[in-house]
């Protein structure tokens, strides 16, 4: 049982961090489709940073810097250049994927992968079988809880929600929605960096092109599935990881009897079903259909 739990936590943690980033943006009124790009950028920067400096802290810092800059760019394009946030987010995803390829190629003359040589600190023997997990896995529930407190129990959180739901009302009481969105997106950048770093340095200690493999989009789906709630989004991301682990298990157990392609598609099928259920329960589809942006002027 602990083996399955470890597998779920290992695959779910990067997804949860990135889903939290999407949730922050969504609370501020931005449907963040750049999560995939920021995640791959974070993974690439973390691995390159560690490989170049030998320091995991430096790798993490570089990942945070890159992702925050990417988030700021998204904010600038959406808020200052008045671009549609969904299109801008997709552009950011393309920039992240292409930029990571270009970075690896220009630094190493290689187009495929970077071996970091070191990874995030592990929990260690004191945690028994869970000792193989990284410290970011242990930090994840704390981050979820802190975000819940921040969004639900502080003035900042209420203002952020107001900016997302009723920007006109927020502006009428002196809150600048644009600034709040910048803060939310930058915070999301930090979380994407952590998600990317966990993916690249958690246990693998390497970066490989396209290694996010659609996880950023699944994180976006988790935000919708989770109703834009920090705990809901985290649980949704965890659910996707459980389905993925179950899909692998099903392949190993029923691989000879069931169509393998169907078993491989299980996580994506669960994503679609999850989003559909969420839409039915929370009116998420209606919100998405509105164009994905809330303008206050």
């Amino acid at each position: 049982m602990s083996d399955i739990l470890i597998a779920v936590l290992r695959s779910g943690t990067p997804l949860i961090y990135v889903a939290l980033a999407g949730m922050l943006a969504q609370r501020a009124g931005v449907w963040h489709l750049g999560l995939e790009g920021l995640m791959i950028a974070g993974a690439c920067a973390a691995a390159v940073g560690v490989e170049q400096t030998g320091s995991v802290a430096a790798g993490l810092a570089l990942a945070v810097l890159v992702c925050v800059l990417g988030s700021t760019l998204l904010w600038f394009v959406v808020e200052k250049l008045r671009a549609n946030p969904i299109i801008a987010g997709l552009g950011l995803t393309g920039l992240g994927l292409g930029g990571a390829d270009l970075t690896v190629q220009s630094i190493y003359g290689s187009e495929a992968s970077v071996t970091a040589g070191a990874g995030l600190p592990r929990l260690g023997d004191a945690f028994g079988a869970f000792g193989v997990l990284s410290v970011l896995v242990a930090a994840m529930p704390v981050v979820v809880l802190l975000l819940w407190v921040l969004l639900r129990r502080t003035r900042f959180g209420l203002r952020l929600a107001a900016c997302g739901e009723h920007p006109f009302a927020a502006r009428s009481v002196g809150v600048a929605p644009s600034r709040m969105r910048l803060i939310a997106l930058m915070g999301g950048g930090v979380l994407c960096a952590l998600g990317g770093a966990e993916l690249a340095l958690g246990t693998l200690q390497l970066f490989s092109n396209n290694m996010t493999a659609g996880r950023g989009f699944m994180a976006f789906a988790a935000v919708i599935f989770g109703g834009g709630h920090p705990i809901g989004s985290a649980l949704a991301a965890l659910f996707f990881s459980i389905v993925e682990a179950a899909g692998i298990k099903a392949q190993l157990v029923f691989g000879e009897k069931a169509p393998r392609d169907l078993l491989l598609a299980l996580p994506y099928l669960a994503t679609v079903i999850g989003v559909w259920i969420s839409g039915r329960l929370r009116g998420g589809l209606k919100a998405a259909a509105s164009g994905g942006e809330l303008r206050d002027n």
Binding site: I6, G91, E111, N210, A213, A245
Partner: protein
Amino acid sequence: MSRYQSSAPTSTALLSRRHVLQGSAVLAFGAAGLSSSGARAAGGLVALVHTQAAGDNGPVDSMIAALKRLSSEKGFTMRAIYAQDAATYESIFRSLGDAGAAIVVSTFNEVADPIKAVAPSYPKTKFIQLFADPFQPAIPNVETVGYDYYLGCYLSGLFASRISKSGKIGYVGGMSLPALNADLNGLKAGAAAANPAIAVTGAFAGSFQDPAKGQEIASQMYQSGVDYIQTDSAATDTGIIQAANEGSGRMVSAIAKTQYKLGPKTVAAIVKLDFGLSLYQEVSKALEAGWIGHHLPTGIDTGVVDFELSDVFLKEGPADLVAKAKTIWPEIETAKKAIITGTVKVPLNTTL
């Protein structure tokens, strides 16, 4: 460093990426500095159009290195062009034909249709497709090269069956494609030949570039008692080797010698497919007068496809497993000879 690449990408990430990077292959092609003057340099132009990224420590790097070596030996101009997007393959081949390229080499099944579309229009350009099925009908200026990789997997299965302590072995492929299905079936046949009671578990990651998924699958396999995994999934392999490194008594048979360093104590062997050697051999032949296009099946008697024990593992692996591997190896050599002489027939089965 995949041997294979799906012609139908399934990832949503790939979908979005395609839009953004639509013209990148064409731009890369232009940046390569291809010109008609270069094309008409001494010995003509020989171009390698690779559909997977270089820097893979595997097939693409070995092909580029082999082409460079041959270029310096024979005095022709060479270009290596990375074609990322399937939509650009045909235009790249056509541009090379227009530039008067003498030989165009490319890889994997996804370039088959573009070559079929372009080759008849450029009869003076010789096209070589590595890792290909035969063209029906054949085209006079096209050589297709197939590899009996499944025979290497058969030998790996034989070896695994003998060295496994648990009696459970595994296989992790990138995607369920006919060629990879044949590899899994080859592994099963080899394992069963040595021990009919052996349990073989097969799984596919759904991607050749997802080491995290590879690690998850391999971890679950090892936890279920499997102690030997044959990889067949390119960059995803790295995660499988990482999972092997996390426990004792776990072994991997990988696909390239460059993977030895990733698991010196766990990567016991490789089922090798030397693309560089294959390219060197076929381009050398195509440079000769009288070359005519054909299909070339490549077996384990050519040195291109083989099953090899890791010299790094023999030095650094667990003593008991190393000793056992050395004891088993003569049997593998005997089986290899039997396949080459035809005494042992390994069926090619591409369905699961």
